[in-house]
Amino acid sequence: MLGSWRTGTNASPLAEFHLALESFDGPFELLVNLIENQGFDITTISLVRVTSQYLAYVQQLQQRSVFAEATAEFLAVASQLLLLKSQAYLPGIADDEEVDDAEDLADRLRVYSAYRKLATELDEIQANAMPSFFRTVFLVDIAPEIPDNALAISELILAINTMVDRPETNGLLVTIPTSQISLQQRIQTVSEALARERELTFDSMASECRSRLEVIYTFLAVLYLVARRDAVVRQQRSFGPITIRVSGKAD
């Protein structure tokens, strides 16, 4: 079907394709537009010459990154032109199904061009748009949680002591050589843990980290796994717990 060559604001590779034929001299896009919308007689156009001129144009493009895109676009449009032209030549032979196809195509073009016009209107709106903004963080979520009963100093001291007594903080005197952390290792560790557990929370992994750097590496590792589509993450609300799951890899 027709489509992406009909770009407006962003130039399509076909936009620069010029044709010089007996009955038409101008941009290729204009020609297609004329045939579609203005009833320009397609039988006066030599498709062979359109194609050969296009091939010459593509030769120039070869070095450019748009080459594949331009070729694909042209193929789509050219096959459509071929269909239109063969129908113009063989009106009597076309069976019911083909007539339906032609009507269907005309109908689709009608629908599509309506939306295309609408897109142009939206484009004008966005060009002059004065966007609005709204709150993106739910205020309640970042308000500190204050327990109902006021804390006694002794409880705070107890809490600190419990923390200091935790085995991982016990060896505070030991300096952990940070250079031993590698992202590669971290990715491996996280991905193994994930394979084992199927589902993890980021908090649980972070609590096993012994330095801030390790937490950061863990986070990077998670991002890497997400990018590779090995994992999916979910966070229900801002600052909420992050859940990491094994991805089904289903698209």
């Binding site: 079907m1 027709l2 489509g3 992406s4 009909r6 770009t7 407006g8 604001t9 962003n10 789509a76 269907d104 109908d107 689709r108 009608r110 629908v111 599509y112 309506a114 939306y115 295309r116 016009k117 609408l118 897109a119 142009t120 209107e121 939206l122 484009d123 709106i125 966005q126 060009a127 748009a129 004065m130 966007p131 609005s132 903004f133 709204f134 709150r135 993106t136 963080v137 739910f138 205020l139 309640v140 801002s238």
Partner: protein
């Protein structure tokens, strides 16, 4: 409630919170909307959801304050996709591709990533395809106060 919410609220949600009749709440919301006209903040109506937002006139200052640039305009392909969804929502990806006649994956993911469209449910057709609708961010992006303020156009019925 509209002030503290980080998303659009439906009249129903507001009703549930204050325990009033829905017609009363909707009437009050409409009154509020009128009262905020011409002020620095507005109340935006997206479908049946309400959300407080800054006035379009304050746009340039908010952009500056938030350090946002306004030069990332949507392309024609994205705009077409967006137009089809906005005027036919909820719509499936297949319906959009049928109208556009081309694969629309990349405008689709761009629109989802920019928060202009979002999945709103699943259709009854075979395979239960995901249905997409516009978000209140869509209205905000174009600086439109309500879906009713979109350009009024006659659209041909897309055939089944």
């Amino acid at each position: 409630m509209l002030f503290v919410a980080d998303r659009a609220l439906t009249a129903e949600e507001i009703c549930a919170a204050i325990g009033e009749d829905s017609s009363l709440v909707e009437h009050a919301l409409e009154q509020l909307r009128e009262q905020y006209e011409g002020r620095g903040v507005r109340i935006m109506l997206h479908g049946d959801s309400y959300q407080m937002c800054t006035a379009p006139e304050a746009s340039i200052y908010c952009q500056k304050l938030l350090g946002l640039s306004s030069d990332q305009k949507l392309t024609q392909a994205s705009l077409e996709t967006l137009a089809i969804i906005a005027y036919n929502q909820p719509a499936t990806r297949a319906e959009i591709e049928r109208i556009r006649g081309v694969n629309s994956d990349s405008p689709f993911s761009l629109l989802v990533n920019r928060g202009l469209i979002t999945p709103v449910g699943r259709g009854d057709q075979a395979g239960r395809p995901i249905l997409y609708g516009t978000t209140s961010g869509f209205l905000a992006y174009f600086g439109i106060g309500s879906l009713d303020d979109l350009p009024d156009v006659e659209l041909p019925e897309p055939q089944a």
